[in-house]
């Protein structure tokens, strides 16, 4: 009995020691992997909100590894068939209206993606943060029975990144709660926040995420996940330019 108690205490101790030494970089990698899996398939509705209008768009997205993404718009009818393919930090876009594939030049990567508050870079280079930034743990606290890590990530001196720093708030089950984008003058520009967390596709994920510009309170873009599946079998040929143009799936 006594041994058992000691073992239990030791076990507790080592557990907390483990979480205290969690490297911030590993936390971010875990969070990315948690969100993307080896492969993933998801159905998402994006709502762009402006003070005087609002617009919703539905799309399907496939991911493989951390550098390959295919997104295809399904609704509204006017925009259905438009798609973007991201592969190794390159981005192509296809529009059925002109039946052409166009490579998005790097100069356009900071432009808004499909008119939203997400930039092309936000969509395509979501894992850049792992390699091109230095990470440090700012604080940890308890929230709703979870341990929450606040990590500051500062881009390397020579990295081609517009932000001065980013702050990521990650829960101990690797759900990314919040991501803040600060500019080089130390002003908060935009914040991405998880608004709903639930169990989907066998994982706990942020099912509604909102990106909001700091200056204009009433302008935001919300991504709401209808369906998500992880680690499914995806053929590599899905992520090709010819499939972007002529969907086989």
């Amino acid at each position: 009995m006594k041994h058992l108690l000691v073992a239990f205490i030791l076990c507790l101790f080592s557990l907390s020691a483990l979480s205290a030494t969690q490297k911030p970089r590993d936390l971010i990698i875990q969070a990315m992997n948690h969100w993307r899996g080896q492969t993933s398939y998801s159905e998402i509705t994006m709502t762009i909100h402006r003070p005087d209008w609002e617009r919703s768009m539905s799309m399907t997205s496939w991911t493989k590894g951390d550098k390959t993404t295919l997104v295809r718009v399904t609704r509204p009818k006017k925009d259905a068939g438009n798609g973007t393919l991201t592969k190794d930090n390159n981005m192509w876009t296809f529009s059925p209206k002109i039946n052409r594939i166009i490579k998005v030049p790097s100069s356009m990567m900071n432009q808004s993606w499909m008119g939203s508050d997400f930039s092309n870079k936000d969509i395509s280079k979501s894992t850049d943060i792992v390699d091109q930034y230095d990470h440090s743990l700012l604080e940890t606290h308890e929230e709703n029975g979870h341990r929450v890590y606040v990590i500051q990530s500062i881009p390397h001196e020579d990295a081609a990144i517009v932000w001065g720093r980013e702050i990521l708030i990650i829960r101990d089950d690797y759900v990314l709660l919040e991501q803040q984008f600060w500019d080089q003058d130390g002003i908060l520009v935009k914040t991405m926040k998880a608004r709903e967390i639930k169990n989907m596709g066998g994982r706990t994920v942020a099912s509604i995420v909102r990106m909001r510009k700091q200056e204009t309170a009433d302008e935001w873009t919300e991504m709401s996940v209808q369906d998500i599946q992880f680690d499914i079998d995806i053929d590599g040929s899905l992520f090709t330019l010819s499939n972007l143009r002529n969907p086989r799936q």
Partner: protein
Amino acid sequence: MSPDINMGLSIGLRMAWRNLWRHKRRTWLTVGAMIFSNLLLVFLISLQFGSYRMMIDNTLKSYTGHMQVQQQAYNDDPKIRHSIDGIIPLARSIRQQLGSGMVAARGVAFAMTSSKQRSYGLQIIGVEPRFEPNVSTLPGLIKKGKYFTDNHAEEIIIGSVLARNLRVDVGDELTLLGSGRDGSFAAGVVIVTGIFESGIIDIDRAMAQLPLAYFQALFSMGDQGHNIVINASDLTLVPDLEKQVANIVSARKELVVLDWNVLQPGLKQAIQADMTSAWFMYAVLIILVAFSVLNTQLMSVLERTREFGTMMALGLKPSRLGALVFTETFLMSSLGLALGTALGTVLAWYLSFVGFSYPGMEEMAVRFNLPDRMYPSLSLLSIFLGPGIVFACSLLASVYPALRLFFLQPVNAMRAV
């Protein structure tokens, strides 16, 4: 005026004139300095005014225009949604009410423009093919191909630098990809029908025009657009015309009329900055001339100490002698003013026809939207501003020598060496 005073005046004038020519060479040297500085000032100020005028004209006529009607939020926040309903009929009605053809509607949007090899993010302007040539010089600067005539044509006009960057020529295809007014995808394929060369790098590199009706279809604009450009026949008529236009659109509260100063605040600031720096140089010139006058007059007073002493002993008042010295300066300065402005005006007038350039000017001219020859612009202001100040400063410089006479003791003065 009594004949006595009249006679006194003329004697004073005659004495002053004769005094001046007692030292011919010295007087000519001082007058020469004035002539030189006045000539330089007339020439430089006219040239400056001329280049400002050209800067304003070239900049405004290439794109901005003298004034624009816009939705009130557009100028501060140029978003595609800040647009004007029924823009083509509105432009037509302004055209009719002003009785002027220099009115044209435009739409502005952003699109990624791609050729087979390259892509660039560009501002795309939708224009009325029939009226755009009346408000902008660009349609007349087409170097290759032609300007479009059909308001619905799927055609594009681009600048020469952009054409080189995209590696396209007349007849080639470009694809446009952007967001429409309702946030939907805007995508289109257009044929390059014309390439213009304005000489203004920014415009040649980043300007592309579509016919307005096609522009509206492409960007889901309906019957909307973003601004109506209105030109006056001369820059000086802009304030009056602005009032008339404001009157015409006053029924629609969401619209504002903005003149070129508001639309291109940098232009006036650039001119003011240039003016300020130029005046530092002018001030140095003017002060040097004033000191040379001071020197001459002081010398001429000091060397005549005995003479003035004798005159005072004979009963002449110091004020009369002071006036004499002052008159001498006045005559000398008038001579400098007349000859300097005359020569300067002739030079500037001649150059206002043949133009003026110097080595290395081309590079600078392109940066400031100027042609490679400059033409001075003559006006009463540009002629008399500089010489007038030289004249006033010279008179001011003679105050000290004239005042010295009031402290002259006749007896001591007559014994002075």
